[in-house]
């Protein structure tokens, strides 16, 4: 019972007067409370010494620093991809495994930058006439001018002529962002045409604008938090228990590629969540405090 009472907090903020508290707890106890508050009134807290001089300095330009192992893995992956291309015949499969980013040059000189844990496949035979690619995961495409270029995923189709765009297909989620030119997206039975700096996903199914020219792997515009966490799993090779995550939580922002703790903090703080490693690769999320 005692734990639920808050009469002292009422007294402290003045919504209960001295007489009422005295009547409730008796003269002696009242005095003891009062001697505490009187003593506190005498005290002074230390003073903040900071200043605003940093406003005058030019801001540090953020240069994304990629860890050496990422560079090497990109280089190795490109070599591997070229090797596969030479030795393999008709159907090509390109896989960026956990923790590696992969730049793949398609036969028509278009490039696909695969985020970790993503894969694409296409038929190399006749690609010049029918440019069709299947994708699972996330990739940024820079498409050379030419015939229609199509990216298929389980959740939708994206068609372009020559442009730059990002397709993000993770689990049931599907999002396309257009950076240049125009992109046609087909989700379920609906068709959307994106102009530069417009995006669409299969949740809202409406074309909207985004800002910023970021197309690095862990940059997001209005993406469900659960999808962001699935990407973190793929990039860092961890497993995240996200039972507390609500489907309505939407994330916009950019995460670190090379610091798991930073990336988790960046993704979680807006939602008042904190994380805990239950084992080396298993992470549990819980509300802060």
């Amino acid at each position: 019972m005692e734990e639920q009472e808050t009469y002292l907090s009422d007294w402290l903020d003045g919504s209960m007067n001295d007489q009422a508290l005295k009547a409730l707890v008796g003269e002696a106890e009242f005095r003891e409370y009062q001697s505490i508050t009187d003593e506190l009134n005498r005290w002074k807290a230390p003073v903040f010494q900071g200043d605003l001089t940093f406003l005058e300095q030019p801001k540090n330009k953020e240069i994304p620093v990629r860890a050496l192992w990422v560079r090497w893995s990109v280089a190795a992956s490109v070599l591997l991809a070229i090797g596969l291309f030479v030795f393999q015949g008709f159907s090509k499969q390109v896989i960026a495994t956990t923790g590696e980013e992969l730049v793949y040059v398609l036969p028509d000189q278009s490039t696909a930058t695969l985020s970790p844990g993503s894969e694409l496949s296409f038929s190399s035979w006749g690609f010049a006439w029918k440019r069709t690619i299947s994708l699972r995961g996330q990739a940024f495409f820079k498409v050379a001018k030419g015939a229609t270029f199509t990216v298929e995923s389980d959740q939708g189709f994206t068609q372009v002529l020559g442009t730059e765009f990002t397709v993000h297909s993770r689990g049931n989620y599907y999002q396309v962002r257009c950076f240049e030119g125009s992109v046609e997206v087909k989700i379920d039975q609906n068709k959307f045409v994106l102009a530069p700096y417009q995006w669409v996903d299969n949740l809202n199914q409406a074309v909207e604008r985004f800002e910023g020219a970021e197309n690095s792997p862990l940059s997001y515009w209005s993406v469900p938090l659960s999808v962001v966490l699935a990407d973190i799993e793929a990039v860092y090779g961890v497993e995240i228990d996200r039972t507390v995550v609500q489907p309505s939580w939407i994330f916009t922002g950019k995460l670190d590629h090379d610091n798991l703790n930073q990336a988790l903090n960046q993704a979680l703080w807006p939602f008042n969540l904190e994380y805990k490693f239950v084992s080396e690769h298993k992470i549990l999320l819980q509300p802060t405090q």
Partner: protein, 169 residues
């Protein structure tokens, strides 16, 4: 507010830097570290202003400060110290040596009692008592309910009284 606008930013800084620093001091009890962390939080906000939602910025600075403090400050025993204004000089009764000694003793007992509280209770209590922050404002800054703040306020006063009685025994 627009965190990228220097004018907006400095007003926001003037209004909140002191409280943020004090929040850190009340929670972790390390003055020098609290100074640095509070300043760093504002530098970070300024550098990354375009990524920040101006409507949630107040809660954000408290969360950032707390996270940074948890990274930096080791789990040690918290020692809080406050300076005190001198007693009323015009009142002879309050100038006797006995009274001054008693008052000093009471001050250190109360400091000790405060230091032994749970950080999340102490911070709320001192933000209200020392900085005069309203319960609603504390709740908003820390992402708590007003009810939770009230419970903590009540419980702290109960605990402080009990502790001080314990020291007297």
């Amino acid at each position: 507010m627009n965190p990228c606008d220097a004018q907006h930013f400095s007003v926001f800084y003037e209004k909140n830097a002191q409280s943020l620093f004090r929040y850190l001091y009340y929670t972790f009890g390390k003055e020098a570290e609290a100074q640095d962390i509070a300043q760093n939080v504002f530098v970070k906000i300024w550098e990354q202003c375009h990524k920040i939602d101006g409507t949630k910025i107040k809660t954000l600075i408290y969360t950032m400060a707390r996270n940074e403090a948890l990274n930096i400050i080791k789990h040690e025993k918290v020692v809080l110290e406050f300076s005190a204004t001198s007693p009323d000089r015009n009142n002879q009764e309050y100038q006797t040596p006995e009274f001054l000694i008693e008052q000093d003793e009471f001050k250190s007992k109360l400091e000790k009692a405060l230091s032994s509280l749970k950080p999340e209770e102490r911070q709320v209590f001192l933000m209200n008592r020392m900085d005069g922050m309203k319960y609603q404002e504390i709740a908003d800054n820390l992402g708590l309910s007003v009810k939770a703040v009230e419970k903590r306020m009540h419980h702290v006063l109960v605990a402080l009284r009990a502790q001080i009685k314990g020291f007297n025994r």
